[in-house]
């Protein structure tokens, strides 16, 4: 387990964070400029905090009070940078092997073959980084970090330099790191979709402070926590793949409620996470009839949050889990939505984007 406690003066504000990252994927979530990168750099040893203490599984990496400082090359943190940072003078294979040269002999090593296969980079091995696409570079960067026999993977917005299609291409590889390699990860992101797909634990940063820490479902389902703005709010549901239909849909079972999604490449029985954006949800008091939308979740209003604007955030408890719906205050009033009221959440199948569907 990683424990972090840091104080550091930044130009715009003072960073003061304290959190623990249990095994699994911990996502540092927040808008840009909230100190996320400073935190991950301090964990890697690339930045000396004004004050702080960082430990990993009981080993002290940095303790300013006791004047302890482990230089970055002795920390064995596999860092995946935003821009890849592959060595331009080395081939892909040499880049991958770079960390292996320096890994301690007795460290648990992933084999080059396994990592190459896991990331699908076999055809790239003899090329130089200058000729790779952004997505390919990032896959090689993940492999390079993994092959240095790290105790933990640090990823600093590894997808933010990529376009949407490349993001969707890389995200599954981080899921495989989590599920198949099982290496602990600290992952910086400002994207709710990435949190929804990857996070075991979420630490929400705002203006250099920890605003909230919890599981992905807890944090994303809490309308008060919206680092990426109200438009990015959405709930996280867990569901099991029931069957694939011949018309291109996949049927899920979410707590007994059937959900239909565009076909996903998961075997029946496997568990997936789906993020449902609050602004894609329609509410209805009666169970609607003759509607084109396929997904209707019966539920009860848990609470209703309104701000100064015309919108209201309705939080529903359904058999599938908590669902958030963003409606107008006018509709909320007209429908009489108040805590305890029964209503139905309607979600169009096609409104669930592929990047919002991930492995359990």
């Amino acid at each position: 387990m990683l424990t972090v406690s840091l104080q550091h003066a930044l130009p715009a504000f003072a960073l003061d964070v304290r959190f623990e990252a249990p095994p699994g994927v911990t996502v540092l979530f927040g808008r840009s400029g909230t100190g996320k990168t400073t935190v991950i750099q301090a964990v890697a040893g690339l930045l000396r905090p004004d004050q702080g203490r960082v430990t990993l599984d009981g080993d002290v990496l940095c303790d300013t009070r006791q004047r302890q400082w482990l230089p970055p090359h002795k920390r064995r943190m596999g860092y995946v940078f935003q821009e890849g940072r592959l060595f331009p003078h080395l081939t892909v294979r040499q880049n991958l092997a770079f960390g292996q040269w320096f890994a301690p002999r007795d460290a648990k090593q992933e084999s080059l073959d396994r990592v190459v296969e896991l990331l699908g980079i076999g055809p790239l091995l003899l090329r130089r980084p200058g000729l790779l696409s952004g997505g390919e570079k990032q896959r090689v960067a993940i492999g390079r970090a993994l092959l240095s026999a790290p105790r933990m993977i640090l990823a600093d917005e590894p997808l933010s330099a990529l376009d949407e299609a490349r993001k969707a291409e890389i995200l599954p590889y981080f899921e495989r790191l989590r599920d198949e390699i099982g290496i602990p990860m600290l992952y910086v992101s400002h994207s709710a979709a990435e949190v929804a797909r990857l996070a075991t634990t979420v630490v929400v940063l705002q203006n250099g402070k920890v605003q909230r820490q919890g599981t992905a479902a807890e944090v994303l389902g809490d309308p008060a926590v919206m680092p990426a703005g109200v438009r990015a709010a959405g709930a996280l549901l867990q569901a099991r793949v029931a069957r694939h239909h011949s018309d291109g849909l996949t049927e899920l079972d979410a707590g007994g409620v059937p959900l239909f999604l565009p076909q996903i490449a998961k075997a029946p029985g496997s568990v997936v996470r789906i993020r449902i954006s609050a602004h894609e949800v329609i509410l209805s008091r009666q169970r609607p009839e003759g509607l084109s939308a396929l997904n209707i979740l019966p539920g009860t209003v848990e609470h209703l949050r309104t701000g100064g604007g015309p919108g209201a955030m309705v939080s529903l408890t359904t058999p599938a889990g908590r669902v958030l719906a963003r409606v107008t205050r006018r509709s909320a009033h007209a429908l009489g939505l108040e805590p305890g009221a029964e209503c139905h959440a309607i979600v169009k199948t096609v409104s669930i984007a592929p990047e919002d569907i991930g492995g359990g």
Binding site: G45, H73, F87, F98, G130
Partner: protein
């Protein structure tokens, strides 16, 4: 005896060989220190950085005769450093080693400038990446920085070699122009021009100078291009 030796008179041939030896040693000896200085100036923040920078550049802006005279005062047998070194058997004054020292000091600023520019062109974030992969500072330098600055390093070395080959003022002031001892190509040309009938010998040496300079330049172009291709990721 080679054709060249027959074509050149013994004294001329001696000057060519001496110049090559002096320049080679000057460049090789100055190179590691030039790389370290260039790296420090490009990457590190420390007190006295401006002073170091000025000191390095001093031989470039001082009249060479002044540099030679300072060398004579400091490294002469009666000088503070020269006297001490003499105790352990190292003598610079009026020896070829003194010519090499003068050449090295004159070439140093040019080497540092070329190498410093190429160090500054290396993204320090690549060195950070190497550190997170387990490379210590020295290994970072050897495996990432050094290969990437190789084109600049080659250019700086050739520039330094050319400067050393051509050095005249500081050399003749510090170690004079003793045939076979300290008479390098430029001082030999100068000496031949002082005696009647020496023009043809001076012309031959001039052609040799041009030949050596062109060869060095072509060789460095070739090496630098190959290194740049590698460093550029092609």
């Amino acid at each position: 005896m080679s054709a060249e030796a027959a074509w050149l008179g013994p004294e001329e041939w001696q000057a060519v060989k001496l110049s090559l030896r002096v320049s080679l040693w000057a460049t090789l000896a100055a190179l590691p220190l030039a790389v370290l200085t260039a790296y420090a100036l490009a990457r590190w923040q420390f007190h006295g950085k401006q002073i170091l920078n000025s000191l390095v550049h001093l031989p470039l802006i001082l009249p060479p005769v002044v540099t030679g005279y300072i060398l004579l005062m400091v490294f002469g047998t009666k000088g503070p450093i020269g006297g001490a070194l003499q105790q352990i058997g190292i003598v610079f004054a009026f020896r070829w080693t003194g010519a090499a020292l003068a050449a090295a000091i004159m070439a140093f600023p040019l080497m540092v400038r070329a190498i410093r520019l190429s160090v500054e062109a290396v993204d320090p974030r690549l060195e950070q990446a190497a550190a997170t992969l387990g490379a210590s500072r020295i290994m970072c330098f050897a495996t990432v920085t050094l290969p990437m600055i190789l084109p600049g390093l080659i250019a700086g070395t050739v520039l330094g070699f050319a400067k050393a080959m051509g050095e005249f003022g500081a050399t003749i002031t510090f170690v004079s122009s003793i045939p076979g001892q300290t008479q390098t190509l430029p001082s030999a040309i100068y000496t031949f021009l002082q005696v009647p009938g020496g023009e043809t010998a001076a012309l031959r040496l001039t052609l040799v100078s041009i030949g050596i300079a062109l060869t060095a330049l072509l060789l460095s172009e070739l090496l630098a291009r190959r290194a740049a291709d590698r460093a550029g990721g092609r």
